[in-house]
């Protein structure tokens, strides 16, 4: 293992950037979960499938756009992202209506029921789109890479996803902590009875909050499919990581989620270079668990007394 200082710098930069793409997808996934799990205490094991729903929506828009002509292939993504959000959002609302709202008082059971939902969704994707992995067309302005020095090579699509992540994160933070609606959400989660007493429609708050979390997962899917191909079971690969991100960050804290997604993605990506991907993943997970054993409430403690 002989690396010169310059090599190490380049490796850190490249792996660091690879880590940033991973960080973006992980954070987008985790944001949705931070809303659903952190605020509502619902454990949505089908979160990965909502992401895949967004990814397939993007793929469908791309396929439809390809029929319209070259201009559509260039810019379909601008339409695909809102549609990915919308499809996951609406489906999330439906699921809340049919399933989740009956289970609010049994958090562990939401875990089991949504696992059943995940199985159904996976098979649904397989029946509709086939078992093969698909990827949408990449618009030409997202192809290629930026090379500031000969040793560093940074893909454009990675940067686009970063930008998307920043926008979505700021949007979620604004919505949850700066808007009237966010205030209603937080008040409902803090005390359902009091919120209902002051005239908040807590049922709608629940439904929209759950749907919003799912919608953000849909955006994560749109981002995911730009850097990697999508299959019916792609969501399962991410679900463990995503839950760990939220728990590690301290459930209920958005800034904690951002920091923990960053640490996990970067740690894993840099270790990957030295240890290979499977050992890197094992090491990262073990470190997270070890830290969680010492600080079960996660990095950022929520100040709510329970």
């Amino acid at each position: 293992m002989d690396y010169s200082m310059q090599d190490l710098m380049a490796i850190t930069a490249m792996q660091g950037f690879a880590g940033l793409s991973f960080f973006s997808v992980l954070l987008l996934m985790a944001l949705g979960l931070a809303i659903i799990f952190g605020q509502m205490r619902v454990i949505n094991m089908a979160h990965g499938e909502f992401m895949v729903l967004g990814a397939y929506t993007t793929y469908m828009v791309s396929t439809l756009a390809a029929g319209l002509g070259p201009w559509a292939t260039e810019y379909y993504i601008l339409l695909a992202i809102p549609l990915a959000f919308l499809s996951a959002f609406l489906f999330g609302m439906l699921i809340e209506l049919l399933m989740i709202r009956h289970l609010y008082h049994r958090p562990l059971d939401t875990l089991l029921a949504t696992w059943g939902l995940a199985l159904i969704m996976q098979q649904g994707f397989r029946s509709i789109f086939g078992a093969r992995e698909v990827s949408p067309n990449t618009p030409s302005w997202l192809e290629g890479s930026w090379r500031p020095t000969p040793m560093i090579d940074i893909p454009i699509n990675g940067m686009a996803i970063m930008a998307l992540t920043v926008i979505v994160t700021l949007g979620v933070v604004w919505l949850m902590y700066r808007s009237r609606w966010g205030l209603r959400v937080r008040s409902t989660m803090a005390s359902r009875e009091m919120s209902a007493a002051v005239g908040i429609n807590t049922r709608w708050v629940d439904r929209l909050t759950f749907a919003l979390g799912c919608g953000v997962a849909g955006i994560a899917g749109a981002a995911f499919t730009m850097i990697s191909s999508t299959g019916p079971t792609s969501g399962t690969l991410y679900i463990v990581d995503t839950f760990l991100v939220v728990v590690f960050g301290g459930a209920g804290s958005i800034s904690g989620t951002v920091v923990s997604a960053f640490l996990i993605a970067q740690g894993q990506s840099i270790l990957e270079f030295f240890l290979g991907s499977s050992m890197a993943k094992v090491t990262t997970l073990l470190v997270i668990i070890a830290i969680l054993m010492m600080r079960p409430e996660g990095l950022f403690k929520s100040k709510v007394r329970r």
């Binding site: 009956h102 562990l108 098979q123």
Partner: protein, 388 residues
């Protein structure tokens, strides 16, 4: 002990045990050919884990999504022993290094790793199967429960642990057989494990061990410990303030569940003739929970029925309509959780049992009025809600 005997032989436990014993020891062996019996035996190997989950999850409130880990330790320990027996220098003469398992040779490993050495001994292997999963579970439990990690967080961390184990097993293929697992197991102490005779013996051994495990579970629940465990599940703080060290109660039941899972894993390996990471990963680990949920999370016997039913349903459906299987199992799972949280046993207790009891009284086989004892299945969350 008196209490325990009552539990084992009393009115509640005995008829159920006898019916299950009749089904497993008489009905199945008489009506099934060896292949189906072997298949049933595999489902019963999963039932060990489900029984463990009934104890840890149903009665202890600890939902573990990582039971595959303990099942895997038991299964791999057995597979390592059988693999070493199959890898004699004569049988592996064509390898670069004869005398080591074939997959090690394929991965350019030239000497048996140190942790494989003790598995030459059957005594060590059996001891490992009986102690390692329990010790490992106790270690995890100690680390988590003394830090008061519980509920959802516990579920997620156990799931992460089983993820780690699977990645390790797949990644270190020179030492573990990788994604293919440990295959091509042949003999146990020179006795061919694939003959019909061996399969029948393994089936009966599995059934007997399963009953031993269920009896152990019933006994544990009937003791004072069992009551404190249930109380902890429902009102943890009250028990803690009463002076009990809650963490150790949880550690014990989690270790016991791990112990049972390990035995199941070993019996699985014996009956199937291989062990692979696909049997211990995230998805199988959640399936164990499905077995327990379908059977009824508060019913030790229900766990056995749940494992058998889901197992058979999978075999029948997955062959006839492979497309529909995931839809079906997903829907069943949602339906059980939403409409029958206590599974088949719960449905039996609320719908069938009162009629059976009334029938027994009407026929004069049981004296007196229909029993008015409330069902044992009290919804812990609902009880908690009611107290608030």
């Amino acid at each position: 002990m008196n209490n325990a005997l009552q539990m084992l032989l009393g009115k509640k436990g005995l008829p159920g045990l006898l019916i299950l014993a009749f089904i497993l020891l008489v009905l199945f062996p008489l009506t099934m050919d060896v292949d189906s019996l072997n298949l049933t035996g595999r489902f019963l190997a999963f039932a060990f884990v489900a029984v463990g989950l009934v104890l840890a999850w149903g009665y202890g409130g600890l939902l573990s999504l990582g039971q595959g880990l303990f099942f895997g330790i038991g299964g791999y320990a057995m597979a390592m022993y059988l693999k070493l027996e199959a890898s004699t220098p004569e049988a592996t003469a064509i390898q670069t290094t004869p005398g080591i398992p074939d997959f090690m040779d394929w991965n350019q490993i030239t000497a048996l790793p140190w942790f494989w050495e003790p598995f030459h001994s059957l005594t060590f292997t059996v001891l490992a199967i009986l102690t390692l999963p329990a010790l490992f579970a106790a270690f995890i439990g100690f680390a988590l429960f003394t830090r008061r990690v519980s509920g959802v967080f516990f579920a997620i961390i156990t799931q992460a642990m089983v993820t780690i184990a699977t990645i390790l097993v797949i990644g270190q293929q020179g030492y573990t057989g990788g994604v293919n697992g440990i295959t091509d197991l042949r003999t146990l102490k020179g006795w061919d494990i694939h003959t019909d005779q061996a399969l029948v013996v393994f089936y009966f051994a599995t059934v007997v061990l399963l009953f031993a495990v269920i009896a152990l579970g019933m006994w544990v629940l009937s003791t004072k410990y069992g009551r404190i465990l249930m109380a902890t599940r429902d009102q943890e703080n009250r028990i803690r303030y009463s002076g009990y060290s809650v963490a150790y109660f949880k550690i014990f039941i989690f270790a016991l569940a791990g112990f049972m899972s390990g035995i199941g894993g070993a019996m699985f390996t014996l009956q199937v003739g291989f062990m692979s990471p696909s049997i211990i990963g995230i998805i199988p680990s959640i399936e164990f929970v499905i077995f327990a949920a379908v059977g009824g999370r508060l019913s030790l016997l229900g766990a056995v029925y749940g494992s058998l039913l889901v197992g058979y349903a999978r075999v029948t459906f997955a062959e006839a309509f492979p497309q529909l299987w995931l839809f079906l199992i997903g829907a069943v799972f949602i339906a059980v959780v939403m409409f029958a949280p206590y599974g088949l046993a719960g449905l039996y207790n609320t719908h069938v049992r009162p009629r059976v009891e009334a029938f027994l009284v009407r026929m004069g086989w049981r004296p007196g009025a229909p029993p008015s004892d409330t069902p044992r299945a009290i919804d812990p969350q609902a009880a908690q809600e009611a107290r608030k």
